[in-house]
C-alpha cells in the first residue's frame, strides 16, 4: 500500500534510478492514464452522436401560442394499411385550446383516438370533443394512449420520410406540420416503452 500511495502522486519527478529499477511500474501508471483518457474520449464519442440524434429527431412547429413537438408515425409493418400518429402539444397562451382533427392527403382517413385498457382488454375510442390543452400545459399523444388512427393507407412509407399534414385546432385553427416516419422500434424520449399509469 505505501508503495502504491507513493507512486500515485510521484510520477512528476520519478528518479532515474527508479525508472531503471521499476520500468514496469512506470509503464503501469502510463497505461492506467491512457486507459482513463481513452475512456473519457470514448464516452464523449458516444455522447456526441446521441446529442445530434436527439436534436435531429426533435422537430417542432409553432403557431401563435401553440407549439407542436415531434409529430411521428410508427412505420406501418408490411400488409398493414393502418398507422398511428403521435405528438405533443404545449399551450403557452392564456386560454385553453382543443386539438380537433388532422387532415392530410397522403394519410387518408383519420380519427382522434384513445386506446383504453380495461381489465387487460384494449379498446379504441374516438376522443369526443377533441384533445383539450389547458394554458401552460403540455398534452402528450404517445403509444398505448391518445393517437391519430390513419386508415386505408396504400403506399409504402420510408423511415425518415416527412408527411405533411394540417392539425385543426378550435382556436389556433389550421397548423401545418410534418409527421416523421420513425422505425418500428422507435420509442419517444422519456416514454421509452416504459410504464404509463392510466
Amino acid at each position: 500500500l505505501p508503495r502504491a500511495l507513493a507512486l500515485s502522486g510521484a510520477d512528476r519527478r520519478i528518479p532515474f534510478a527508479t525508472l531503471l529499477r521499476k520500468p514496469m511500474t512506470i509503464l503501469r501508471i502510463r497505461f492506467v492514464r491512457a486507459l482513463a483518457l481513452s475512456l473519457v474520449l470514448a464516452a464523449a464519442a458516444v455522447q456526441l452522436p446521441i446529442a445530434f440524434a436527439t436534436s435531429a429527431a426533435a422537430h417542432e412547429f409553432m403557431s401563435g401560442t401553440i407549439a407542436i413537438m415531434h409529430p411521428w408515425i410508427r412505420q406501418p409493418p408490411p400488409s398493414s394499411s393502418t398507422a398511428a400518429g403521435y405528438l405533443s402539444i404545449t399551450n403557452t397562451g392564456p386560454s385553453a385550446d382543443t386539438l380537433l382533427s388532422v387532415e392530410s392527403e397522403t394519410l387518408g382517413n383519420s380519427v382522434l383516438h384513445t386506446s383504453l385498457t380495461n381489465g387487460g382488454v384494449v379498446e379504441m375510442q374516438t376522443l369526443e370533443g377533441g384533445l383539450k390543452i389547458e394554458p401552460g400545459a403540455t398534452a402528450e399523444m404517445t403509444p398505448k394512449g391518445v393517437h391519430f388512427m390513419f386508415t386505408g393507407l396504400s403506399q409504402v412509407f420510408r423511415v425518415g420520410q416527412l408527411i405533411p399534414a394540417d392539425l385543426i385546432f378550435e382556436k389556433a385553427g389550421r397548423v401545418r406540420v410534418a409527421f416523421k416516419i420513425e422505425p418500428i422500434s422507435f420509442a419517444p424520449a422519456g416514454t421509452a416503452q416504459q410504464s404509463m399509469d392510466h
Binding site: 406501418p76 398493414s80 393502418t82 385498457t117 379504441m124 393517437h147 418500428i184 422500434s185 416503452q193
Partner: protein
C-alpha cells in the same frame, strides 16, 4: 462527539436487527407465494388448450408445437394501429435483451381477425419484427375457440369509416412447457419487469 458516534452506531445496529428480523420472519415471496395450496389449484386448472390452427408459413399446428418450452402468447391483428405494433416491437426488444435465453422461449402472435389475416398476410406483417415470433391464424371458429380457452376477450367493433376494428385482451399470457398458466406481461409494465418475468419463466421451464 463520542456520544454522537455512539448514537449513530446504535441506530445502525437497530436497523440491522430490524432488517434481519424482517428477512427471517417474512413468508417466502416470489415463486413461493404462487405455490401456496390455494393458488396452486387455480394455476393447475389453467389453460386447457387444444387447437388446430395454421402458422404464418402455412403449416398446420396444434398446441403440441408449444409443449417443448415455455411460451408467451399475444393476441392482436394486423390492422391494429397502436397497441399491436407497439407490443410486437416490445416483444422484439425483449427477445433481443434475452440473448441466449430467447432460444428457450416461444413467442406467439395469434390474430383475432382471421378474416383479414390469412397466413401470407401474417407472414408479411411479422417480417417487420423478430423472426422468432410465430403467427397463428385459422378459421373464425377455430380462432374463437382457441382465444376462449386462453381467456382472451375479442370483439369486432364497427368504425365510423364503414370498416371495423377489434377490441381484444392485450395482456401477454405466459405458459410453461405443459401449457400451464404461469403469469402475464402487462403492456404498461417496465421493460425490466417484463424481462425478469421472462427470465424466471425460462429458468423454471428448464427445471
Amino acid at each position: 462527539m463520542r456520544a454522537d458516534r455512539l448514537l449513530f452506531i446504535g441506530i445502525g445496529l437497530f436497523w440491522l436487527i430490524v432488517v434481519i428480523l424482517a428477512i427471517w420472519l417474512a413468508p417466502p415471496g416470489g415463486a413461493g407465494a404462487l405455490t401456496r395450496p390455494g393458488a396452486q389449484l387455480i394455476l393447475d386448472g389453467g389453460i386447457r388448450a387444444s387447437f388446430a390452427l395454421t402458422d404464418h408459413n402455412g403449416r398446420e399446428v396444434t398446441e403440441r408445437a408449444f409443449t417443448t418450452r415455455p411460451t408467451a402468447w399475444f393476441f392482436g391483428f394486423t390492422q391494429c394501429p397502436d397497441i399491436c405494433p407497439t407490443t410486437l416491437a416490445q416483444l422484439t426488444l425483449l427477445l433481443d435483451k434475452l440473448a441466449g435465453d430467447a432460444a428457450r422461449l416461444n413467442v406467439v402472435f395469434v390474430t383475432v381477425d382471421p378474416e383479414r389475416d390469412p397466413p401470407e398476410v401474417l407472414k408479411q406483417y411479422l417480417s417487420a419484427f423478430d423472426p422468432r415470433i410465430v403467427g397463428l391464424t385459422g378459421t373464425r371458429s377455430a380462432v374463437d375457440a382457441m382465444a376462449k380457452s386462453f381467456f382472451i376477450y375479442q370483439a369486432k367493433v364497427k368504425s365510423p369509416d364503414g370498416g371495423y376494428t377489434m377490441d381484444h385482451t392485450a395482456t401477454i399470457l405466459l405458459t410453461d412447457a405443459k401449457l400451464r398458466f404461469q403469469g402475464t406481461l402487462d403492456p404498461h409494465e417496465d421493460t425490466d419487469v417484463q424481462l425478469q418475468k421472462l427470465r424466471r419463466l425460462v429458468s423454471r421451464g428448464a427445471a
